[in-house]
Symmetry: C2
Subunit: 522 residues, 2 copies
Amino acid sequence: MILDCGITFPQEDMPGVDIVIPDMSYLIKNKHKIRGIVITHGHEDHIGAVGYLLKEVNVPVYGAKLALGLLESKLNEMGLLSIAKLNVVDSNSKVSIGCFKAEFIPVNHSIPDTYAVVLTTPVGIILHTADFKIDFNPVNERVADLNRFSEVGNRNVLLMLADSTNATKEGHSMSEKAVGESLDNLIGRSSSRIIIASFASNINRIQQVLNLAEKYRKKVCIFGYSMRNNIKKSIELGYIKVKKGILIEEFEIKNYKSKDLLLIVTGSQGETNSALSKIAFKRHQKISIDKNDLVIRSASVIPGNEKFLYRVINELFRRGANVIYQSLSDVHASGHAYKQELRLLITLVRPKYYMPVHGEFMHMESNAMIAMDMGINEKNIFLLENGDVMKVSSSKITVDEKITVGASFIDGSGVGDLGDDVLKERMILAQDGILNISAVIDKTTRYLKAEPIITAKGFMYEKESDDLMRMIKIMLKEDFDKYQKSTLHISDLHNIIKKRLRSYLYQETKRNPVVLPVIIEV
Amino acid sequence: MILDCGITFPQEDMPGVDIVIPDMSYLIKNKHKIRGIVITHGHEDHIGAVGYLLKEVNVPVYGAKLALGLLESKLNEMGLLSIAKLNVVDSNSKVSIGCFKAEFIPVNHSIPDTYAVVLTTPVGIILHTADFKIDFNPVNERVADLNRFSEVGNRNVLLMLADSTNATKEGHSMSEKAVGESLDNLIGRSSSRIIIASFASNINRIQQVLNLAEKYRKKVCIFGYSMRNNIKKSIELGYIKVKKGILIEEFEIKNYKSKDLLLIVTGSQGETNSALSKIAFKRHQKISIDKNDLVIRSASVIPGNEKFLYRVINELFRRGANVIYQSLSDVHASGHAYKQELRLLITLVRPKYYMPVHGEFMHMESNAMIAMDMGINEKNIFLLENGDVMKVSSSKITVDEKITVGASFIDGSGVGDLGDDVLKERMILAQDGILNISAVIDKTTRYLKAEPIITAKGFMYEKESDDLMRMIKIMLKEDFDKYQKSTLHISDLHNIIKKRLRSYLYQETKRNPVVLPVIIEV
């Protein structure tokens, strides 16, 4: 059984890569053993790669209504919807997946319809918390079902896998309702146009904004592809309820006064092509910032996005907007459990073995410390790396095998996976550029038939190029002369040119461009 | 007069750039008007580009002992030390720079010997706070001289320029002494080897660590070029005091037990080539992480460095170290004033005009709000952008001119400045790679003399290359045939090949590689 199958976004050492999916080769090799895929919730890092897996391993998929609804749109875009076997589950479901039985416990998170998974296996019960928090004042949904956790705890849980994202944070995560109160204060007191940026998947946050729009008699217009898409889907599936007449279309905006308008937009991370970024930098066709606009950024920042985000916030201030972002006000609550919530769940479940998951190693380490403090034996806590194989029996757990896993890089049309080699070439090109030397040689006399043509891209600067070019030409002449007078093979000539030019260029410029000689024999 | 002249570090859209310095062209054009350079303190973003300026505009430089000491090392590396006119100043100095008189008020910051600058000009007094904080419990230095600020305030300050870095933060910045207490707790209770990473310029932090090493009878070894350099210079100039026998060299480490060792290292930002990073990833020649090492990261993270830093912290945990970083403990204090300190200084100085400086726009905006709340008229507060020219007279300030300023990119040996064009080329190469087509044509018959050679770098992937190559060859054949049968110029052929291939490749792969045809006529 596969639990979740998501994507991640590229790092700075993966230029030109659009998305990163898991390397599926181990799964494909073992497809005859796979009985199903269970989805805990509808975030990209949990559903984004399901389509890529189904192409190769078309087993049934189990998940809650919203998660499968969002997955459907993706499978549709990939032309896979007709072949996919999607099965909606809820808190009452008990499904058999091979020799496992799966049940689902509602938890809170930053997207509705998130479920922890209880797997009854031949060797014992395994509980996966999913990405979770415990919100005693949630919006539009019930509190995480603590009674179910307690009841499962009474059945002897062998192994518990728990979300580590916020395991370094003391206390209890903030409630979604408290965010609503902050937003109510801001929206209620504002007499300007309001622009709110949030994650497109944070359905309950969007519901709160829509409720406040109704309360303060504002018209709401939605900007950004994923935001429009998710809100549409959520209204369709009943996860968002909005009175008629609140939502308006772009072309209707001109009929209303600024103070009666509230825009919900994508771009909470400062993404270049998001609605908020386009609006800030005057690249949006319809909307630009007016002095006194109130811009509220209701989201956390994903590490690595800080610089992009600050650029957008600075630009909004520059154009005269009043920007509320998280370090100034409580306009966002995390969807992941803090220390107290992890302690509460461990108390209810009392597992024999414990495995921190979901988070960087430092977060998993902190999660492990919590479990130790709660009395779980250090030997029974497992900190695994990607690819580690955990073998679970009723009496012991062993981790002594490793399979090859990794990432596949998808770019452009996704025609092919990008290999590491291509990425390495791109990195070198990006650092120091390329120098191409094209030349023609006479097959019989071995003489150069014309002056070689030298082209630099991303490498030379005007100031220095004259001197360098003169010297490169002198060196090439020497190399071609040497070739002519010798019995060297043409590939030797390639190597000589590369080696001498690289060392000369490094010495002169401290740069290492790709040197690409192309020699044609005629 | 120039106030400070620093560098910044490259962003992710400047591949291959090592450092970024200000564009000096306006200064060079107006060098006859420049009488001197005043340095407020010895941080890279304040002294790093002085050498580049002195090469073109060799005027006297004024600064405190430590700042000029650090500057000396840099000028020495650039071969400029003999021509530079360096003048050490202190809190008693009054120096004439053209028609200005400069005085210096000690403030606190994250490097010793930082001074605010009071300029008496023909039109009134201008006060620049420098990067500052007010530390009532500083280490190894006096509290920022509030009496001097008060006294200058009594002389009617026309314009005050104030540090905005932490202007969004409520309250008063943490004292350096409190950091010492946290470190004392950690070092005193530890029975393991200790590794402390900090900014190499945070001299007083290093002094505290050395004091604690003495207190707990540990031997200290220093790793990392800038750390060794700065500590050596600071001992030389009297800013760091350390008892004989505390500092040991690398080769002596083996003579001591782990628990008696404390290493001070560079790498608090996760920089790839820093000592800490090398130690974490087993790339260091002498030191690797032992299980139970206590690693303390005593520094803030500069936005944009988070990912690199987390990679290092994760790796340290993975190897069994106990890592203390800032979100877990008070092991760092910022060097920049919070809101209360700005309010205090405004109260003492009572300037007529106010100008937030140093920080992103959102921080300067917040600083402006503080000044407004303190009663400074909104019209008298100036939020300027780089290049804005502020004209100050005794009765009014105008900002209605803009000069061209910007950044110069220095890479490799710094032979030449990198232009924007080169950077753009590199970005394109990084995104999608390059496709080179080299071909030979007979001058008289216009026929191809041999099959064109096609080379891809950072672009094609094995899976797709066969099909693409076949099609590229067919298209090239068509293009060359067309050329042969026509009277087209060779440059037309270039354009045809580029245009057709680019559009075909985009259609097939959704990628836009650089297409570089090189056609040699023989």
